[in-house]
């Protein structure tokens, strides 16, 4: 079998990619909740699943005019349905990601990179987290940085590399002491456990990759 090399996705495919992401998050609800039970209040999976189920319900068959519109719709849905830190952070991530993509109607590596870097910037502005605080930033920032180096790769290869960078970033949070979010009161007791929000970032990128690989 010859694998088609896709350089970009059209608007419907992009929307479908995020519908796939939604299912993926929903399927990992318990896994994320267990991660939050270890160092947080045990609701991260519940919230993320609630948000992404709402995404599926609300944009499932909707047509969009730009990549930016898809991302900002998702962001607003997450912001208004998840609540908690994750709602503000993942809502802000997608809303921030949409900023420079209002005129774009294809999803490519360049768009991926723009989305990750703008999203990262907005998240940092909103939540004041820096790498090392043991948050989703520790997974998002390496992915965003990595994406800038991949502009010439095919989309699938770029997504493989980016999601690997996010995975390593999330893995590294195990060695960090939380200084932001509900885990921060644990101090050293947070060592050894990965940050749940960082895992969510991994899952989002990994499912985007799986979707593109499946085309």
């Amino acid at each position: 079998m010859i694998i088609m090399v896709r350089e970009f996705l059209n608007l419907n495919e992009t929307r479908n990619m995020f519908l796939f992401v939604s299912k993926y998050i929903e399927e990992n609800k318990d896994f994320l909740t267990q991660a939050d039970k270890a160092i947080g209040d045990g609701d991260h999976g519940v919230g993320m699943a609630r948000g992404f189920i709402a995404v599926r319900e609300k944009i499932g068959s909707k047509n969009f005019n730009s990549i930016g519109e898809i991302l900002s719709s998702i962001g607003t849905i997450l912001l208004t349905t998840i609540g908690g830190a994750a709602g503000a952070i993942f809502g802000t991530l997608f809303r921030g990601a949409s900023k420079n993509l209002r005129e774009e109607d294809t999803f490519s590596v360049r768009i991926l990179s723009s989305m990750l870097n703008d999203g990262l910037e907005s998240v940092k502005q909103r939540g004041k987290a820096e790498p090392g605080n043991k948050t989703m930033v520790d997974s998002l920032e390496p992915a965003a940085i990595k994406s800038k180096e991949l502009l010439t790769l095919p989309l699938k290869d770029a997504l493989i590399a980016v999601s690997e960078a996010a995975r390593i970033g999330a893995e590294n949070t195990k060695g960090m002491i939380a200084t932001i979010g509900k885990a921060k009161t644990l101090g050293e007791r947070s060592l050894g456990h990965p940050d749940p929000g960082a895992i969510s970032v991994c899952l989002i990128l990994r499912s985007m990759m799986e979707y593109v690989l499946s085309l």
Binding site: V46, A88, R126
Partner: protein, 334 residues
């Protein structure tokens, strides 16, 4: 893992149904804002500085149970243990706004801070002035140098009581802010837990504690406290907690305080009273005067067993607002 047995309908509907339960109990005085999980008083005088409180649900009667006479005007409520989304806060803001601005008053958590801050931006775009007081009374959650990293726990009750009083008396947002912030600055708490609560959607305990251990410095959620120790008798446990609370402000001989012994969910009034006995003895020994004692379930974490101790230091002004009568589902004072 033993799942909690709860008297609910669909776990996804708990927040809406509990808010409806409050509306029903309010004798027509409180309404729900169509489409969002927020409650507001039906009658708010023109020009009143609005007092909006809120946070995650699952801590009842905190927050929505503290709407009432000389208490809050409204509450923006999130899912169980999740800060309310900004649109909920914003809708409540518009419903409460009577031309003189609003005070947002809530516990200091990353999620609440971010969501309420987004709502502030939305309110300001509509021309509604908002000031914010974040409550950070939990002495166990960070050293005093990083007081702004501390979380808000049962001290919420006292700060809301003061804010309810001043916001009923003054139409100056700055003054409401200033006095509420002072109440916050004068309030210190600490909690412990002996067994976990659970969130209705999973039914699983949010943490596991060995049979002979106690979690010290517990907050209002499933997130663990600051340390685990072997189970203690009530008296030595209280001594330990009081040491930490008293030395933090610090509370000193001659101070006058309000005292709250708060059940975190499943601890019996019997235990709270045994705790109060020791707390009061310690305060008497230190010559700190108790102006009022409140004991019961005010800021809870589902069926978590445990309690917290809160002290708020009074001055003449705070005392005046504390002593105002108040009425709400969760807290009433003659």
């Amino acid at each position: 893992m033993k799942k909690a047995k709860k008297i609910i309908n669909n776990p996804k509907n708990v927040v809406n149904e509990l808010l409806e339960g409050i509306v029903e109990a309010s004798n027509g005085k409180i309404r729900i804002i169509e489409g969002v999980s927020a409650l507001v008083k039906k009658e708010i005088p023109d020009g009143k500085v609005g007092l909006l409180i809120g946070g995650g649900s699952g801590h009842e009667p905190l927050f929505p149970g503290f709407i009432g006479v000389n208490m809050a005007d409204g509450a923006a409520c999130g899912h169980i243990f999740a800060a309310p989304a900004p649109n909920i806060v914003f809708e409540a803001t518009k419903a409460i706004s009577k031309g003189n601005g609003l005070l947002y008053l809530y516990g200091n958590y990353a999620g609440d801070n971010m969501n309420f801050d987004i709502a502030v931006e939305m309110a300001e775009e509509e021309g509604i002035a908002v000031k914010t007081v974040r409550i950070w009374d939990d002495v166990a959650s960070a050293p005093i140098e990083r007081i702004e990293d501390r979380r808000g726990i049962a001290g919420d009750l006292f700060v809301i009581k003061i804010a309810g009083g001043i916001s009923a008396r003054s139409d100056d947002l700055e003054e409401v802010f200033r006095i509420t912030a002072r109440a916050r600055d004068n309030t210190r708490s600490m909690g412990v837990s002996v067994s976990a609560g659970s969130i209705p959607e999973t039914g699983e305990p949010t943490f596991l504690l060995p049979e002979d251990e106690i979690e010290i410095g517990m907050g209002l959620h499933g997130e663990p406290g600051v340390s685990r120790e072997k189970m203690l008798d009530a008296d030595p446990l209280v001594e330990k907690m009081m040491d930490k609370i008293l030395s933090d402000l610090p509370f000193k001989e001659g101070d006058e305080i309000c005292l709250l012994i708060n059940d975190l969910g499943a601890t019996t009034m019997m235990e709270l009273l045994i705790v109060n006995r020791k707390v009061s003895q310690i305060l008497r020994d230190k010559k700190i005067k108790i102006h009022d004692t409140v004991i019961g379930s005010y800021c809870t974490c589902q069926e978590m067993a445990g309690f917290s101790i809160t002290l708020m230091k009074l001055d003449e002004e705070l005392k005046k607002y504390y002593d105002m009568p108040a009425e709400s589902l969760g807290f009433t004072k003659l």
